[in-house]
Amino acid sequence: MSAKLSASQWLDAAVDATRETAIASLGSAEVEVSGTHREVPVGLMGAYVPLMADDQSLHIGLVSSDEGCATMARALLGMEPDDEEEELREDDMVDAVAEVVNILAGVMMRRMADRVSSFDLGLPIFVSGKVSCPGPHDVRVAVLDIDGVVAQVVMMQGGAKLQGGV
C-alpha cells in the first residue's frame, strides 16, 4: 500500500487534472491559479465526485457561479458562449458540469496511478447548496481562472455530508 497522500498533494493533482481537462474538453487556452484556501465554498454550485483511494476517502468538486457553470457547460457541449438562440437547458448544464468533474477525476486517477495502489471512483452529483463536512476532515480549495471563468476546485479528505440539491 502506498504512503498516505496529504490533502495538499491531492489538491495539486486535482488542479493539474482540472487544467488538462479544461484545455482538452473545454477548449480553454489558459488556466491560472489565483489563490488557495481551506473553506468549503459557499453560494456557488457545481459537481462533486467521491473517490476512494487506498484507505482514503475523498470528494473532488468543481464549483462556480450559475453563469460560470453555464459557460463551462456550453464549452463542453460545443455550444457558442453567447448564442441566445441555442438555449442551454438546466438539466444539460447539470449533466455537463457533472461530466467535467467526472473527466477531471479520471485524469487525476491516471496521474496518481503510480502513487496509489487502488482507486474507486463514484458517480458525480451536482449540488447547489451548502456542502458540509462532519467529523475530522481536511478541506483544500484552489481558485482558478479558466479563460475568465472563476471556478474553485475543492478537495475534501475524509467524510463529507452534502446538504441541499439542485
Partner: protein, 120 residues
C-alpha cells in the same frame, strides 16, 4: 453501419456523437442508450456494428455489459469510452472482450485512429 452510444450522461452522448461526425463517421446511423441494461436490449434488437460504452453507469456498468454480451454469445464489437483508464481497467476491458478502451478527454484524431479499422 450502425453505432450504439451508451452513457448515462446525455451530455457525454452528445459529445461522442459530435466527435463521430467530426472524425468523418457522420454517415453512419447512431442510436443511444442511457445505461448497460438499455444497451443490452438495444444490441439484441438493433444488432449494431459497433457499441461505444461508458464504464460507470447505473443499472448495468460497461464491464457488466461486456460480460452479458459475451455470456449470451452475441457477436458485437464494443469499445469502452471512459474517464477512468487505469492499466487495471484496460486489462479488465480487454479480458472482457472490448476492442479498445479510450480515455476521456479524447480527441477527434484518437477517435479516428481507433474507429477507422472498425468502420473503414
Amino acid at each position: 453501419m450502425k453505432i450504439l452510444v451508451v452513457d448515462d450522461s446525455r451530455a457525454m452522448r452528445m459529445i461522442v456523437i459530435r466527435t463521430l461526425r467530426r472524425a468523418g463517421f457522420g454517415s453512419h446511423t447512431v442510436t443511444e442508450a442511457s445505461d448497460g441494461k438499455e444497451a443490452l436490449a438495444a444490441i439484441q434488437d438493433q444488432e449494431p456494428d459497433l457499441v461505444l460504452t461508458d464504464w460507470a453507469m447505473p443499472e448495468m456498468t460497461g464491464i457488466e455489459l461486456l460480460h452479458a454480451v459475451k455470456d449470451q454469445g452475441i457477436r458485437v464489437k464494443i469499445g469502452v469510452v471512459t474517464s477512468q483508464g487505469t492499466p487495471d481497467m484496460q486489462q479488465q476491458a480487454k479480458n472482457a472482450g472490448a476492442i479498445f478502451l479510450l480515455t476521456k478527454p479524447f480527441t477527434v484524431d484518437s477517435f479516428k485512429e481507433l474507429l477507422d479499422p472498425v468502420l473503414g
